[in-house]
């Protein structure tokens, strides 16, 4: 029996903005701990906003390599005394989810300025350690099967998607090549060399059908942004970004025998309705791109094309910054690198740059509305967390 009450309208995010996108430049391997990377991100936020450390009264943290500490231990480490603290272990969905949490805290007055930070270190053996102890279900039911980590799990999804919907390696390659093209304009990107489709196709197999350039490169890095009232942002003279709407969903469609769609498919109508925009209104899209197949899932599930039409959609568009569908304009994780949980912030921080006119050579001209989506935590056989945010330039109203 379920209670039947009329659906409640969702509140908007009026009066709350995001600002000050920061990136601590990535490195392949770091001898520092996660605390260093997170601390540097917080320092950059404070410096960038012209704040005192004590002005930040809310903190939201995401990290895989902070253990044994949590956000709490980090606060003592950094000498912070926030009145609002959150720790979001949602991997690739962390950026969007942190924004949602922080925005509501600011809107409700529980915090004035929330620093959202994500960062991870990468020692030579960090990735293996993270993967081998990622989750209970992974430990019990995935890792013992070849210990392929996310490569193997996404290889299975990719294999199924290719059989089911006719995607080809060339389709995935087109996305990877476009993202590399974008990355060459992003000074933070670790990948500095151009990538051709031929190089993509000839790369060595990792776990069929995943080949080398389908995989992100684990690295160390940190990302961050601030959430505050519009009024305070104006007072600080900070370029700002408005939040039109956000969604999140966890463990969507558990009955699907294998993942071919994510939680966005459940929530996208609510997203666009709440945001008051349609997919066609979006000027650029930043997705979570741990593997190219996940990009295709997001094109479909976020309403840019119908389910199964991802391959056709890819063939019909150009995904470079100046293309017909500006996409992953930083180069995405596939070309920037995957700095652990910071990878879950990459798209959001890049979107904030685009919408505050700070995107430099990666700037999409006239970008007004951006769509950011997150995807995270392949706990067993599929990614469980999905999220998305529709963002708008703050100076246009």
């Amino acid at each position: 029996m379920s209670l039947t009450l009329p659906p409640r309208p969702r509140l908007g995010y009026d009066g709350v903005v995001a600002a000050v996108p920061v990136t601590i430049p990535y490195v392949r391997y770091s001898t520092h701990s996660a605390h260093w990377w997170l601390g540097r991100a917080l320092a950059e936020l404070i410096r960038g906003a012209g704040l005192a450390k004590s002005d930040v009264d809310g903190v939201c943290v995401s990290s895989f390599t902070l253990g044994p500490d949590t956000a709490v231990g980090l606060m003592q480490h950094l000498g912070m005394s926030p009145r609002w603290l959150d720790h979001i272990p949602m991997g690739g969905a962390s950026g969007v989810v942190a924004l949602r949490r922080a925005a509501r805290a600011v809107q409700a007055g529980d915090a004035e300025i929330v620093a959202c930070i994500a960062g991870d270190t990468n020692h030579v053996d960090s990735f293996r350690n993270t993967v081998s102890q990622f989750s209970r279900f992974a430990q019990d039911a995935v890792y013992p099967y070849g210990a392929g980590g996310p490569n193997a799990s996404f290889a299975l999804l990719t294999d199924h998607y290719m059989h089911q919907y006719g995607a080809t390696r060339e389709d995935f390659g087109k996305l990877c090549v476009a993202q590399r093209d974008n990355a060459l304009k992003n000074p933070h990107a670790l990948m500095k060399k151009p990538l051709t489709l031929a190089q993509y196709l000839e790369a060595r197999p990792i776990t069929d059908p995943i080949h080398l350039f389908d995989c992100v490169m684990p690295c160390a890095g940190a990302e961050g942004y601030l959430v505050m009232t519009e009024e305070r942002a104006r007072a600080l003279k900070l370029p700002m970004v408005r939040i039109r709407s956000t969604i999140e969903r966890h463990n969507a469609f558990p009955e699907d025998p294998i993942q071919f769609r994510g939680g966005w498919a459940m929530d996208r109508d609510a997203l666009y309705e709440h945001a008051g925009v349609a997919p066609a209104d979006v000027d650029f899209v930043e997705t979570y791109d741990d593997y190219p197949v996940i990009n295709m899932l997001q094109f479909e599930d976020l309403g840019f094309c119908a389910k199964g039409e991802g391959p056709t959609f890819v063939r019909e568009h150009r995904f470079t910054i100046d293309g017909s569908f500006p996409f992953n304009t930083s180069g995405g994780q596939l070309s920037v690198g995957q700095a652990g949980a910071a990878g879950g912030y990459l798209g959001l921080v890049q979107a904030l740059r685009q919408l505050t006119g700070r995107a430099g050579d990666t700037q999409v001209q006239g970008a007004r509305i951006g769509l950011v989506s997150g995807f995270g935590m392949i706990n067993y056989d599929r990614g469980l967390c999905s999220g998305a945010a529709v963002l708008e330039r703050g100076d246009v109203r």
Binding site: S132, F137, A141, P144, G146, G148
Partner: protein, 422 residues
């Protein structure tokens, strides 16, 4: 189709022996339910007692209705292979040495989707019959893994290298039978030869005694080598290990001492001590002499050291007071085998315990039927090795006693004691 296994070449004596590595072993406690099932060769998953939902991976509460009543039950092990991948890279040492490695996703008829090792004879999705059957088997870490196998047997399917990593197939392996003059020992030798063992070292603990069946067996097949071994003699055990310890891939401990007699009524502990000498201390002597060498050779090619078999008795779990001292020795042997299992697990050498009911041999003359033919025990041992089991219960009596123990241990204690207590 799987290539039939080729007879391994003689080892290159100056090549470094590959050391044993293990696949990832950590599991949650709930997942050890799979290990329990795999150890016995049954296919069981958690089934919700309230809503019948089949759970996978193993859970603490039902993923459907949140009931905590999750029972391990046999479930339909069939399904469809819906995705596969072949790993050509792994972060894990064990798998790196065994690449390429094929895994896939199977949608089970029973409900869940599972990630499984996929047999090479299974068709790719979209390229043939995608129906598969799943088997729970122990991997070299001793933990359960799922194998997706072709729905129907294919030629040489047990020779697939991936599947062989979960089994202890005697094919092309060298087997030591520690008492070759017992009926069970001779049966094991024959069954091993039939299963394709390349050598059977058949031990003779009483060279002074002529046993025509033993002599005939030794003469019947050039793969049999008669060797001397008395498990009560440390020196003898050490001598044999020094001589052939580096060639033993499967050790089957058939050495046994069984005599009638309780505890109170006997005037001495000599019988008990004799039983302990063979059944317990013999096992320990063998472990000390052969365990290190087998551990060292646990990844040594096709004919690597894989298994240690103890032929115990179902009375390891419940004493038969008419044979009180013997029962105590078998229970102690079971205990020793558990330590041995823990100690050999680091190398991936499996310890398989065999629990027969009464066997039709001289010391069970007065035991009423049903009694197991020694050859039936031998067949169960070979089958257990081929399937990669850890605990093998042989015969109806063993199964029945096990069921009775599950129902009421105390009742079994009383019932088995009736014949001497009244």
């Amino acid at each position: 189709m799987t290539e039939p296994l080729a007879k391994p070449k003689k080892k290159n004596p100056v090549q470094r022996t590959r050391l044993a590595t293990l696949p990832p072993g950590p599991r949650s406690r709930a997942a050890l339910g799979l290990t329990r099932a795999a150890a016995e060769g049954v296919f069981e998953l958690q089934v919700c007692a309230d809503c019948n939902a089949v759970q996978y991976p193993p859970r603490e509460v039902c993923g459907s209705c949140l009931s905590e009543r999750l029972d391990w039950k046999p479930v339909d092990n069939h399904g469809e292979l819906i995705a596969t991948t072949t790993l050509r890279h792994s972060n894990d040492l064990y798998f790196r040495e065994r690449l390429p490695w094929r895994v896939g996703t199977v949608k089970m008829n029973a409900g869940p989707s599972v990630v499984a090792h996929v047999h090479e004879d299974c068709s790719e999705p979209g390229e043939g019959d995608v129906r598969v059957r799943l088997a729970l088997k122990l991997d070299r870490s001793g933990q359960a893994v799922l194998h997706a196998l072709p729905e129907k047997d294919t030629p040489n399917m047990n020779d697939s290298p991936q599947l062989r990593e979960s089994t202890c197939d005697p094919e092309f392996r060298r087997v030591l039978v520690t008492d070759g003059k017992s009926a069970v020992g001779m049966g094991v030798a024959k069954a091993m030869l039939e299963a394709g063992a390349s050598t059977v070292f058949l031990c003779d603990s009483s060279t002074w005694k002529t046993v025509p069946a033993f002599d005939a067996l030794v003469a019947s097949d050039e793969r049999i080598q008669a060797v001397e071994l008395d498990v009560t003699d440390t020196d003898s055990v050490d001598r044999l290990a020094a001589s052939i310890g580096g060639k033993v891939d499967i050790l089957v401990n058939t050495a046994a001492h069984m005599r009638d007699g309780g505890i109170v009524g006997r005037k001495d502990i000599n019988l008990a001590r004799d039983a302990m000498e063979v059944n317990v201390l013999g096992l320990m002597r063998l472990a000390q002499a052969f365990g290190p060498g087998m551990s060292f050779r646990a990844a040594d090619g096709t004919n690597n050291a894989v298994a240690w078999v103890n032929v115990l008795s179902i009375h390891a779990f419940a004493a038969l007071p008419e044979r009180g001292a013997w029962s105590a020795s078998i229970a102690a042997a079971l205990s020793a085998s558990q330590t041995l299992r823990a100690e050999l697990r680091g190398a991936g050498v499996r310890v398989m315990n065999v629990f027969p009911g009464p066997i039709d041999e001289e010391w069970e003359q007065l035991t009423p039927p049903p009694k197991l033919a020694p050859s039936a025990v031998a067949k169960a041992i070979v089958k257990g090795l081929q399937e990669g089991l850890e605990d093998v219960y042989v015969g109806d009596i063993a199964e029945e006693l096990r069921a009775r123990l599950r129902e009421n241990r105390k009742a079994v204690e009383r019932e088995l004691g009736d014949s001497v207590g009244n």
